[in-house]
Subunit: 337 residues, 2 copies
């Protein structure tokens, strides 16, 4: 769907990622294997793995932002590799925290090598992400390199904040919509924001413009996640004739559900039922529709989507430069409800 | 024992650490609590904790190196706070990996808040450590700040390498002495090396001198750990009249034991016994003495100790400047066998 946007960068990005892992990761038996497995280059026995894992969306966004702001995207490859390493570090730790056995159709790192090793492999990729970002000082001025460092630090703290809220919300009976959006800002928005901001900053060093790019990425990320929440309940119902509603089955506290829980006492009562079968799912969707939770979520998505595009326009009123970014966002949001 | 060396910096360092945690850590309920608990400032319910946790050895070494190399130690406080945050991050993850329930006489973070939260609290402190280090750019030139970043990245990758080897060795029946020393370089030496190097670099920007300081810290760290290994078997035997030998009881693969296992087939056989009681411990110590494992370990300790002091002399032939560092090392090593 958006492979066409990533494709121009794919080979150069993959080469750079492999270079960094090869040159920066200390060489010890079994150490690099976990990282290369997580990156989707190897099977657990070290043999080559050739299926696609991960969409490399974040580095592609960074490189597109760089080009839009007038940069040479090849100059930003170390920053692009860095955000992809960071994203994959966070997945390794997330999978331990969520007790998830499968990622990209393969056993997760902790399932293969155990929790202790997976924590350490994640820590190593965190440090690798910083090492890759630090290499940007070969290309940009020391001042811009230090600014990248500061943005990256802020982003990583935001990511842990989002993760904290996400785990906390699982324990709470009630979560407000505002708290949920605040969690999305950290968990999904912050890294996409950093990608757009760092891409633009690397292009020309203009901090004010870059900050607008960051605002674009942040709002786009939140809108994208809300869209996902809507699809998790009403996905393709028009096409398939029946509701997907997987997020109802798993009782996921997504935006429409949180909205529904504050507007429908009947839904609150229903969600106290332990065994959720088809009748309960159907009733829950009905109650959500009754309080117009879907409409509310669509409005929220549009609000953040519009904020994203407004920030991009402010960043760069020349729409020709940002045309590829517009097409990318259109593709991201081109999924039928 | 070495509290006198840390004491001059204690208040300023603690204030700086608290400032950084307060200003940089995102404010979410329950998030900062884990960090403040780990730093030894709070109980798990958020009430003040006033017992001493941690010796703050690493930041003290950094600040002493800074002073020796002619710096104003107050300029290096953000770097000092950074290495202490990093050290405490690594302890949080170590305790999960080792399944340790107690640290500094209190339940470990994972025991109080669970593994998932403890992983995330560690990740947040990792990012906080970087954020604190990045603040050094307010004091030093951009070039020196970028050099600090590069040293920190290298150190953090080395730490994960050391941790990887340490965990790997627990699974192996045989570990060579060389591999063991290599593990110590990563796990203990790398951060002490970085402390000394970054302290000196911050003082005057002289990379060559700072690198010698790093060599000093690395070798001192290894010597210190070997000394610990010796004390774990023969600690205070002259004073108490009986062997401590706690490391024999736990079958820890420390340096004297690894040496013994390659020189005494009888010890190899003995170490296959599952239940280790007093007779087995006594026999193991006897076998180690027979192959002169203690003598070997003392020689190794002295080798690294001497290499440390030689590097310090090369870094700064003016012995007056480094007198406090010499006293500090003397105090560190002033423990009776």
């Amino acid at each position: 769907m958006f492979a066409q946007f990533v494709q121009p960068y794919w080979t150069a990005l993959n080469d750079r990622l492999q270079d960094i892992v090869r040159s920066e990761l200390p060489d010890e038996p079994g150490f690099g294997a976990m990282v290369r497995y997580a990156m989707g280059w190897e099977n657990e026995d070290g043999s080559p793995y050739d299926k696609l894992t991960g969409k490399r969306l974040r580095p592609a966004l960074l490189l597109m932002a760089n080009q839009s702001a007038g940069g040479q995207w090849t100059d930003a490859l170390d920053a692009a590799a860095s955000v992809e390493l960071l994203h994959n570090f966070s997945l390794i730790h997330d999978d331990i925290q969520d007790n998830s056995p499968i990622r990209h159709n393969r056993p997760t790192v902790w399932r293969v090598w155990g929790v202790a090793n997976a924590i350490n492999a994640g820590d190593a990729m965190f440090a690798l992400a910083y090492a890759s970002m630090a290499k940007m000082s070969d290309v940009v001025s020391p001042e811009v390199a230090l600014r990248l460092w500061a943005i990256f630090n802020r982003t990583n703290l935001e990511l842990t904040r989002g993760q904290h809220l996400d785990m906390r919300f699982e324990q709470l009976e009630r979560v407000s919509v505002d708290d949920y959006i605040s969690m999305l800002k950290g968990k999904t928005g912050s890294l996409l924001s950093a990608c757009a901001e760092m891409g633009a900053l690397t292009a020309n060093g203009n901090e004010k413009q870059a900050s607008k790019y960051g605002e674009f990425g942040l709002n786009m990320g939140i809108a994208f996640q809300i869209r996902d929440d809507i699809l998790g309940i009403w996905g393709n119902s028009d096409v398939t004739g029946k509701s997907a509603a997987t997020d109802i089955q798993s009782k996921k506290k997504s935006l429409p559900v949180l909205y529904g829980l504050t507007h429908s006492p009947e839904l609150v009562e229903l969600y106290q039922v332990d065994d959720f079968g088809d009748p309960e799912i159907e009733k829950a969707v009905h109650l959500l529709d009754e309080v117009q939770a879907r409409q509310y979520a669509i409005e929220q998505e549009q609000k953040f989507h519009q904020a994203a595009m407004a920030a991009l326009d402010e960043a760069q009123p020349d729409s020709q430069a940002t045309a590829p970014l517009h097409e990318f966002v259109d593709a991201l949001f081109d999924r039928t409800y």
